[in-house]
């Protein structure tokens, strides 16, 4: 078992700083998801931990031991690569066996180890095939099996579902959490898919431009994103973002949406009179009858059924476009004039200039590794 601790990691490539004074702690047995757009530095971070890239500054501790200057083969981590990185001249069996061979395990131990992990991942029947004879899904499972077979205390998974088809990705998204939990290993999982991040992570670290912008549970990231960028990245359909300028009246702070005053619960004193952006999740909006208090008149523009939910694009009287989401099978307006209501409890308020979230609630915001 091993915890992972990164202290003030800096990595530069030529003049470009890829990781900027980044600190992060992953508890023993925890699954941490590194989430962010490409170029955020997620993969570099993973490679630093694996030991195939050296940091310019900072320390890497695995299980409390300083591993910063230790070569990759002595770190005892398991890693699955986004491009699978299978050895093309070896069979799937030999590919999976390499971590066991490195320990000079006996032939029978190797055989038993490979076969049990292959059975777990349902690739037992293709063990004699070379990588080029495997389907993408089988390649991905072989790569995963190779990372798992040695039962490493620290598992690094670099977007392992990126190159597999949607159906398999969905299956693996269900399977992986159980698989990882059974192993009891500490996991660092890199992904660009927010659903994967939400499904797999005990905690999610949202990275952008070499720093961790926010670190928290999936729930926290979704409900209380640190800034507009993160709010936009999590959620499908994406969050509605509207420019507003909050004001105050006797009932509290409110924003004007199409001449309707929407009062915001919570303490937004600091936002009054400032240029802000309000973030409304499509599922926080619902169609209501005309005359309902707080109902905003809109025109229905288009409707898209997305399996379990129906997304409607509506236009307000001031011409702003808003997405409204409702569970499939529930009634809604399909065309013409309609009215929508806002569940203001889940509304998010951001500063227009900085993009930072404004609010009093317990947002876990990390900048340069310091907990706010």
């Amino acid at each position: 078992m091993a915890s992972l601790e990164l202290k003030n990691i800096v990595k530069r490539y030529k003049s470009q700083t890829v990781l900027d004074n980044l600190s992060l702690t992953v508890a023993d047995g925890e699954t941490l998801v590194l989430f962010g757009p490409s170029g955020a530095g997620k993969t570099v971070l993973l490679r630093l931990v694996a030991g195939v890239v050296d940091p310019d500054e900072g320390k890497i501790l695995i299980g409390g031991e300083d591993m910063t200057d230790v070569d990759a083969e002595f770190r005892g981590v398991g890693m699955a690569f986004q491009n699978f990185a299978l050895f093309p001249h070896m069979t799937a069996f030999d590919n999976i066996a390499t971590p066991l061979q490195a320990r000079h395990s006996s032939q029978s131990t190797i055989k038993a180890g490979v076969e049990s992990v292959a059975k777990l991942l349902k690739i037992g029947h293709v063990l004699s095939h070379r990588p080029r004879a495997l389907s993408n899904g089988q390649k991905q499972r072989t790569a995963l099996a190779r990372a798992l077979v040695g039962a490493p205390p620290l598992l690094l998974l670099d977007d392992p579902l990126r190159n597999v088809d949607a159906k398999l990705r969905f299956e693996m998204r269900l399977e992986l959490p159980r698989l990882l939990a059974d192993r009891g290993a500490t996991v660092v999982y890199v992904t660009q898919d927010y659903k994967e991040a939400m499904a797999l992570g005990d905690r999610i670290a949202v990275m952008s431009q070499g720093v961790i912008k926010q670190l928290g549970t999936p729930e926290q990231i979704y409900r209380e994103p640190a800034n507009i960028e993160i709010a936009r990245l999590f959620g499908d359909p994406t969050i509605n973002l509207l420019d507003v300028k909050p004001s105050r009246d006797t009932r509290g702070i409110y924003v004007g949406l199409s001449n309707v005053q929407v009062h915001l619960p919570g303490t937004y004193e600091a936002a009054v009179g400032r240029d802000c952006v309000i973030g409304l999740r499509p599922e926080a909006l619902s169609f209501v009858d005309e005359g309902t208090p707080g109902a905003i008149p809109v025109t229905v523009e288009a409707e898209t059924p997305l399996n379990e939910k129906i997304v409607t694009l509506v236009r307000t009287v001031r011409g702003r476009e808003i997405l409204v989401s409702r569970p499939a099978g529930t009634p809604g307006q399909t065309e013409g004039k309609a009215h929508i209501a806002v569940d203001s409890k889940s509304a998010l308020l951001f500063d227009h200039a900085s993009g930072e979230r404004i609010g009093s609630t317990n947002v876990v915001s990390l900048r340069n590794g310091e907990a706010a």
Binding site: A50, P88, G150
Partner: protein, 285 residues
């Protein structure tokens, strides 16, 4: 089976035949000449029908060259052995030195690595004759002139840059992640080099080795200047057929046939392996 018109097939056949005749003619003609005497070779007009003789081959193998002005001793078989020995050893040494160096240049960008690699390549830019004069003087001082070691050393000028640059490209084509994966699995860098990089660059190494062998085999000027009769390869040894009583075309042809046989055999053998290997290289990850 795709359908092609009869005319198209005939035209294609004719075109192929023309190409084959054009490229194979010198070889075939030399092959035929090697079974003729000088008189039949020099007949005008040349004739395709002749009485074959093995005299040329016997002369080469026994080392006795009978000309109009008497019997000459020629060291052709000795030359052939020299060629085999020099080329094989040179390529072996170049592979031993060049392949690890190529790996280093491909994977580890150290200070001045590009400059060193380019310097090694630049050995191929210098005209051989320009290098030879100072080299001869040095070799005589060092006692390396007219030794196998000296020749093999000089042959590195031919083989090493070739192997280094070709193999480097093959190493660079191996995705670094594959090697990282093997390291992370718990293997040392040397094991990674041996078990991952070498097998995956295998076809490239074979191709570079073959090419270096052919270049070394065909080398003329280094051996001409730096080696005396008993160390000379066939390329230089062939000069012995220009005798005071004329050029021995029959023996030259027989000598050519004998001396291209090893490289031809090697190329034919390696070709299958090369094609197989190259198609392996096309599949990545």
């Amino acid at each position: 089976m795709e359908h092609t018109s009869l005319l198209e097939r005939i035209l294609r056949g004719a075109a192929l035949t023309l190409v084959v005749i054009f490229f194979m003619f010198p070889i075939v003609w030399i092959f035929m000449m090697s079974f003729q005497t000088n008189e039949t070779i020099l007949r005008i007009p040349p004739q395709l029908v002749f009485e074959p003789t093995l005299a040329n081959y016997t002369a080469l193998i026994t080392g006795k060259l009978t000309t109009a002005s008497g019997t000459l001793d020629i060291a052709f078989m000795r030359n052939l052995w020299n060629s085999v020995f020099l080329s094989t050893t040179s390529v072996a040494v170049a592979l031993l030195l060049g392949v690890p160096a190529a790996y280093a240049f491909a994977r580890h960008k150290f200070r001045g690595s590009e400059d060193i690699a380019f310097t090694l390549l630049s050995f191929r830019f210098a005209p051989a004759l320009l290098v030879l004069l100072p080299l001869t003087l040095y070799f005589q001082k060092l006692g390396l002139a007219n030794t196998y070691i000296g020749l093999i050393w000089v042959y590195q000028l031919i083989c090493l840059p070739l192997i280094l640059w070709i193999v480097r490209g093959y190493f660079e084509d191996i995705p670094a992640d594959i090697e990282y994966a093997y390291r992370i699995a718990g293997h040392s860098w040397f094991a990674t080099f041996r078990k991952i990089a070498l097998p995956l660059a295998g076809p490239g190494i074979a191709a570079a080795g073959l090419l270096a062998f052919i270049f070394a085999w065909n080398n003329f000027v280094f051996a001409l200047v730096l080696a005396s009769a008993d160390k000379q390869p066939v390329t230089v040894g062939a000069l012995a057929f220009i005798t005071s009583s004329g050029i021995q075309y029959g023996q030259i042809s027989a000598a050519i046939v004998l001396s291209i046989t090893p490289t031809l055999a090697l190329a034919l053998y390696a070709q299958r392996y090369l094609v197989e290997g190259l198609s392996l290289g096309a599949v990545k990850g």
